[in-house]
Every structure is written in structure tokens, then in C-alpha cells.
């Protein structure tokens, strides 16, 4: 990754944070919102499978969003760093991922992140209600966005 890509990534992360904070109602359906910043971070982790870089990228993006609008400071930082690290580590270990495996990986990361977030924010929403009405629909919505992105801007 060269310096231009670094700057581009920082710019996109800032832009996505602004979009999430100010315009999330535009893509929200029945209060289901996909975490577009997490989607970007996971895609970047697959594109550049360096666990350390994904970890740093995830940690700083998470801490920024936590400080701006987070319920619990540190929650997004923890989730984004683990998701970025795990994705890059798996991708580097496997080398090549078939399209179906890639989508499964994305889905697992989005679902896992949502479940960890549920526990960290100490939400009293019943677990099953949370899984079926929040976590699963958000993850499916996120995978749909990734699918659209894969059509127009595929990553290998």
C-alpha cells in the first residue's frame, strides 16, 4: 500500500463516518442500518491482507466513531480491530478465496460484530429478538451492499 492509498483510505473513512452520523436515515429500512464503515474495513482487509494494518485501520476508525456518537467508548474500536485482524489473517492464510467463501466470511464478520456489539452496549433487548430483528437483518442488508459493490468494484 502506497502513501496515496493511505490518504485515500483516511479520506474514505472520514467521509463514511460523516455519512453514517448525518445521513444514515437515507439507507435505513425499518430501523435496520448496515454498518457501512465496517463493510469498508472488511473489504479493505480482504483486499490488503495485512493483519497489522487492518488492525490499526479498524482501531482508529472505531475510536473516532465511538468518540463522536458511540454509546460506549471503545466498543466499535474493539469490534473493528478484531474484525479487520481476523479477516486479513484468514485471507492471508487461505491465499485465494472463492466468491462464495468470501460472502460467507463477510456474513460471519458482520454477524459476529453485531453480536459482540449487542453484549458491549448492554442492550436489554432479548437475545432472540435481537438476533432475528436486528442482528440478522442488518448483516443480510450489509451482505447485499457488499454484493452490489462486488459487482461494480470487485475485490480479489
Amino acid at each position: 500500500m502506497d502513501i496515496k492509498t493511505y490518504i485515500q483510505n483516511v479520506g474514505i473513512i472520514i467521509l463514511l463516518i460523516i455519512v453514517q452520523v448525518k445521513f444514515s436515515y437515507l439507507y435505513s429500512m425499518y430501523d435496520i442500518k448496515p454498518d457501512i464503515l465496517l463493510i469498508f474495513l472488511i473489504r479493505q482487509s480482504v483486499k490488503y491482507p495485512s493483519p497489522t494494518r487492518s488492525l490499526i485501520r479498524g482501531f482508529f476508525a472505531g475510536i473516532v466513531i465511538d468518540l463522536v456518537i458511540g454509546d460506549v467508548v471503545g466498543a466499535s474500536a474493539l469490534i473493528f480491530s478484531i474484525a479487520g485482524f481476523a479477516t486479513s489473517y484468514y485471507k492471508r492464510h487461505k491465499g485465494y478465496l472463492a466468491q462464495s467463501n468470501k460472502f460467507t466470511l463477510f456474513l460471519i464478520m458482520l454477524l459476529g460484530s453485531s453480536i459482540i456489539f449487542y453484549y458491549l452496549t448492554l442492550s436489554h433487548l432479548p437475545l432472540l429478538k435481537n438476533i432475528f430483528f436486528v442482528t440478522f437483518p442488518s448483516a443480510i442488508y450489509g451482505v447485499c451492499i457488499i454484493w452490489i459493490l462486488q459487482i461494480f468494484k470487485p475485490i480479489k
Binding site: 452520523v21 444514515s24 497489522t52 456518537i69 466498543a75 474500536a77 478484531i82 436489554h124 442488518s138
Partner: protein, 262 residues
């Protein structure tokens, strides 16, 4: 795997450990002054990006609104003159009965500039901060009712924790029977009122307000309306479910209730 690669992998896991420990540290000390200071810095930095640059159309609509408000002001000041006598009489009678007058309050207007980024979050961003004397713990209302409490006040922006946050336990009172209870949120639209016994009467459609039981919350702010009452629970208490009067995802303008300095 050679030794160089092994060291590289160990180093990566150490970095992950550091990131996890730092995050867990921040989570554990979520309401500490250190985290609040960090949040204030974050809000100040973000306020530069989210400054309200009014468009021409918005300016025009604001002009019309100002004219309408001025007309209303004239009407209200005429009404005030009519009722001034009654107001003085009310104060005199209250003094005679030794009833304490409520603390004088002022309202700070703010626009909602940020909404929860995920479905599990319960935080709003508003464009008023310490420069408008907004402080942590102050209550935020909209035209439809109680919205939340200021959690972090930056210079230009503040974070508001919504009443739908499940960690909140808000003392409430019913409209007709004046029955006290504790409200705990179920989701972003509904909440349950605890500690109302089966012998007490609560009706569907009855309004629910904040009570004066806690010093944290001002009394008589509308929270919502009862949508179901059930005696089927195994305890001595009723199961009362309410619907919030405010749709937190659609709220655009809010007021912060601010205590005037004496």
C-alpha cells in the same frame, strides 16, 4: 515457517492484544472523566465538519417562520397582559400556602445533527454545546415529549442519550391515578412500567409523565401512552407497556431544559 515469519506472526498477535486491552480499558471506564474529555475533543473536531451551512431556501423559510413567530409573540404578549393579574394572585396564594415555586428554567434550542449509526445505538448528536451553556445531565425535549439526557457536552455539539437506552430507569407517573412506577425501555418504540401493583388501575390510552421522585429528571414531561395492561404476570405487579410519544429517528428540533443561574 521460518523464525522471521514466526516473529512476524507473534508481533501481529501482540498488536492485537494491545488494541483489545486498550479498547477494554476504555469500555470499562466508559463514564470516567478521561473518556468524557476524549469524547468532548471528538465532538469539537466533528463540529468543524458538521457545521450548519444554511442553504438559500432554508434562509427564506426561516424568514417566513420569523414573521409568523413575531405575530405569535404579539398575540401572546396581549394574552399575558390579560392574565397578569391572575399570575400575581397565584403567586400570592402560593406564598400564603407555603408552596415552593419551581426553579426557573430556560430552553435552549438545538437541531439534531447526528442519529444513531447502528440499530443498537441510543445516542443523538445536537448542535448545542457548552457555548450555549448546555451541561451534562440536562434534559432534552421535543415538541412531542421527552427525548433524552445530555451525556457529553462539547463546545458546539453534544451527545444525547435517548430515553430508549435500556440502561435508563426513569421514575414516571400515570395521568389519571398519579400512580408512580419505574420505566425501563424495551426497544426504540416501547417501554415497560415496573412497580405498579395489580390493585392499582391503569387504563390503555392513559398518558405517562416523568415524576418528581428523582432529582435527575424534571417532573411532568410527556413520555408516552399506555398501549397494553396485563395482570397475567406471576408477581404482584401489573405488566404495563407504553409507546413513546416521540419517534426518536424522526426528531429534528429539540430544546434543552436549562436551569437559570440565580
Amino acid at each position: 515457517m521460518n523464525s522471521h515469519q514466526k516473529i512476524k506472526v507473534i508481533r501481529e498477535w501482540v498488536y492485537l492484544g494491545i488494541a483489545v486491552i486498550t479498547s477494554v480499558f476504555l469500555i470499562l471506564f466508559n463514564n470516567s472523566s478521561f473518556n468524557n474529555t476524549l469524547s468532548e475533543i471528538g465532538l469539537d473536531a466533528f463540529s468543524i465538519l458538521s457545521y450548519d451551512y444554511f442553504s438559500l431556501r432554508e434562509k427564506a423559510s426561516l424568514k417566513d417562520e420569523i414573521v409568523q413567530l413575531k405575530q405569535k409573540l404579539v398575540e401572546i404578549s396581549q394574552d399575558k397582559k390579560l392574565y397578569e393579574g391572575s399570575f400575581d394572585e397565584n403567586i400570592r396564594l402560593r406564598n400564603l400556602l407555603s408552596i415552593e415555586l419551581p426553579e426557573s428554567l430556560s430552553y435552549v434550542y438545538a437541531k439534531v445533527t447526528g442519529k444513531p449509526v447502528s440499530s443498537l445505538q441510543n445516542t443523538l448528536l445536537i448542535n448545542a454545546g457548552t457555548e450555549k451553556n448546555v451541561m451534562n445531565g440536562e434534559m432534552v425535549i421535543s415538541e412531542t415529549g421527552f427525548v433524552g439526557v445530555v451525556n457529553n457536552a462539547g463546545k458546539h455539539l453534544s451527545k444525547v442519550t435517548l430515553i430508549s437506552d435500556p440502561d435508563n430507569k426513569i421514575p414516571v407517573i400515570t395521568e389519571f391515578g398519579k400512580i408512580p412506577g419505574i420505566m425501563i425501555s424495551l426497544d426504540k418504540q416501547t417501554a415497560e412500567i415496573h412497580e405498579i401493583t395489580k390493585s392499582q388501575t391503569v387504563e390503555v390510552g392513559e398518558k405517562i409523565f416523568t415524576s418528581d421522585f428523582s432529582k435527575l429528571y424534571h417532573p411532568n414531561l410527556l413520555i408516552g401512552e399506555v398501549i397494553s395492561v396485563s395482570d397475567s404476570s406471576a408477581t404482584i405487579n401489573k405488566k404495563v407497556v407504553i409507546k413513546y410519544s416521540t419517534n426518536f429517528l424522526e426528531v429534528k428540533d429539540v430544546f434543552i431544559i436549562h436551569k437559570k443561574k440565580e
